[in-house]
Amino acid sequence: MNNAILKVSDLKTYFFTSRGIVKAVDGVDFELRRGECLCLVGESGCGKTVTALSILRLFDSPPGKIVCGKISYDTLNLTKCSSKQLRQIRGKDIAMVFQEAQSALNPVLTIGDQIIEQIKLHLPLDHIMARDRAITLLSEMGIPSAERVMSYYPHQLSGGMKQRVLIAMSLSCDPQILIADEPTTAVDVTIKAQILDIFRELKAKRQMSTLFITHDLAVVAEIGDRATVMYGGKDVETASVSEIISNPKHPYTSGLIDCLPDTSKSTGRLASIPGTTPNPIQMPQGCAFHPRCPKVMKICSRQEPPETTISKEHKVSCHLYT
């Protein structure tokens, strides 16, 4: 059963700041399997984005540093790669789509220039072939009159169009893995639906392995195969999406699901998890979630919960199940 294309084990990325060590990612394990869409779920500040950035080592260093852990891709351990090796992997093998399309495109270059640059960087194509490829990609992403869009500057496109351009750009060199960092957060609902369609299509047509980062469980339910829930820089629960939603084990996961608005009940307050995300400089002792946990026990504040296997595909880190 070795169809994992990317395996992250015990990854710890710390930021050494003047105010203290920020343990943004503090021991994350997950594996992305070939052709699946794995969702990384959690609230803001739980380390989802830093996890993604760590895979391609894109955070600022210093202050950031991967202090331990292993990221296996192919036969490589990405944490040990030289920056030159890593540069060849970025875009070619592992591509990333960013949250805000507006700021992820260079405002002074045309769309065409940016995509062609990217293609020529990794593939042995001349300008005209690269251009053709770019136009094909843009049309595939559902951009009308792609040839004209090539000469546009980013500010001439709408938000949804820009997000498509970004996705087209990250797909331009046929990457093995696509990391999408909240690509649906900054767009409105109709665009969100269209973008999710694109991702669904990618999976169907290209068997793309996608690491999809989001805080939105509705999105997870839409496109995810499996999901890993993160809290306080750690993964707390991993299972298939249907299992996570119908049978959440970790109190945090159930809390998140309870927060989803239920349209069958029109009245009443929306549920929320009390408290706020912990300060990453001073994580609570033991289980990071214990100060907010409705089922907190004595052991929770003393000891970190080990990972427990509920079923073959369902793992959770909580003292309730040990």
Binding site: L58, R87, M96, S103, N106, L109, E117, L121, S151, Y152
Partner: protein
């Protein structure tokens, strides 16, 4: 291969078309500032004058003592002439002629020809020295911001030292050591003038560096070189254009000032050199000093107006 050429032509023409649109946009914004347009017109006139003027004027180096100190067209002065045979002064009225519309200097050289060739020198000094300063300033500023850490610290402290060092004293020192050759003067001005530019470019690049498209470019495999030259520098081009326009007059003035205190290159007739020569004959031939002075004044003003206009046009926050 036969199909590729028209395709290439089409691509380039398309690129130019898409660029004219942008240039047109900024032109529309700049156009609303009348002073900037006047400045631009004067600069275009000056460049044309410097480029093709010397083919139409007299030779600025030919002296003719018979016709020395002739006033400009439309002016008449009284000149006393010493006659060596009779040992007495006779007074004669001299008016400007069409042959020398701007008059002649104390050696009988045509002022128009000197002003025109001076324009060539002054513009060249302005452009080359500013070019050197801009290139140095941009490289140092961008590197400092992009690399950060100790590189940033070292480069910025070096900039501080360069800034606190008295600029004029340094110029005088360089010229004293290497001699008053125009090439050294230009080089010296360029090599000392980059400090402020480096600071501005650094601060602009610092905010650009954290923008998502830079991280995105890296995420798609761009090297540091590529990020700097493809993504950072194109984004500070508008700033560079404005700084360049605003620093050209300073450089022209610096050269004139050096010439004026006698440290200019005496073999090249820049406006500063003409001005310096004219100051001794202010009471007999005021135009020799005034004409290059007016030209300097107008040139500096024109560049400043244009620079202000461009700055407003490039600034998305300003409502021109």
């Amino acid at each position: 291969m036969t199909e590729m050429l028209p395709d290439k032509v089409r691509r380039i023409s398309q690129h130019l078309r898409s660029n004219t649109r942008l240039i047109n946009y900024y032109w529309q914004r700049t156009k609303r500032n009348k002073l900037a347009v006047c400045g631009l017109a004067f600069i275009i006139f000056l460049v044309a004058l410097a480029l093709i003027g010397p083919f139409f004027t007299l030779d600025p180096t030919v002296a003719n003592f018979e016709k020395k100190n002739m006033p400009p067209l439309g002016f008449t002065i009284e000149q006393s002439i010493y006659n060596i045979e009779t040992d007495e002064y006779t007074t004669k009225e001299i008016s400007g002629t069409w042959e020398h519309p701007l008059g002649t200097d104390s050696k009988g050289r045509d002022m128009l020809a000197m002003i025109v060739s001076g324009a060539r020198v002054s513009l060249l000094v302005g452009l080359i020295a500013t070019g050197i300063a801009i290139i140095l300033g941009t490289i140092i500023g961008v590197l400092s911001a992009y690399l950060g850490g100790w590189v940033d610290n070292a480069l910025m402290r070096f900039t501080d030292i360069m800034m606190t060092f008295p600029f004029f004293l340094l110029l005088v020192l360089i010229i004293f050591i290497f001699g008053p050759s125009l090439a050294f003067i230009v080089l010296a001005i360029g090599l000392t003038g980059w400090t402020g530019i480096a600071r501005l470019i650094r601060s602009e690049s610092l905010s650009l560096r954290t923008r998502e498209f830079i991280v995105a470019a890296k995420a798609l495999g761009a090297s540091d070189n590529r990020v700097i030259f493809h993504h950072l520098i194109p984004n500070v081009i508008s700033l560079i254009i404005v700084i360049a326009t605003l620093s050209i007059p300073g450089v022209i003035l610096a050269e004139a000032a050096l010439s004026f205190i006698g440290l200019g290159d005496p073999t090249v007739p820049s406006w500063g050199i003409i001005l310096e020569a004219g100051q001794y004959s202010l009471n007999t031939a005021w135009w020799v000093a005034v004409e290059p002075g007016i030209m300097l004044f107008l040139t500096v003003l024109a560049f400043n107006f244009l620079g202000d206009g461009l700055r407003d046009a490039f600034d998305p926050k300003s409502n021109v």
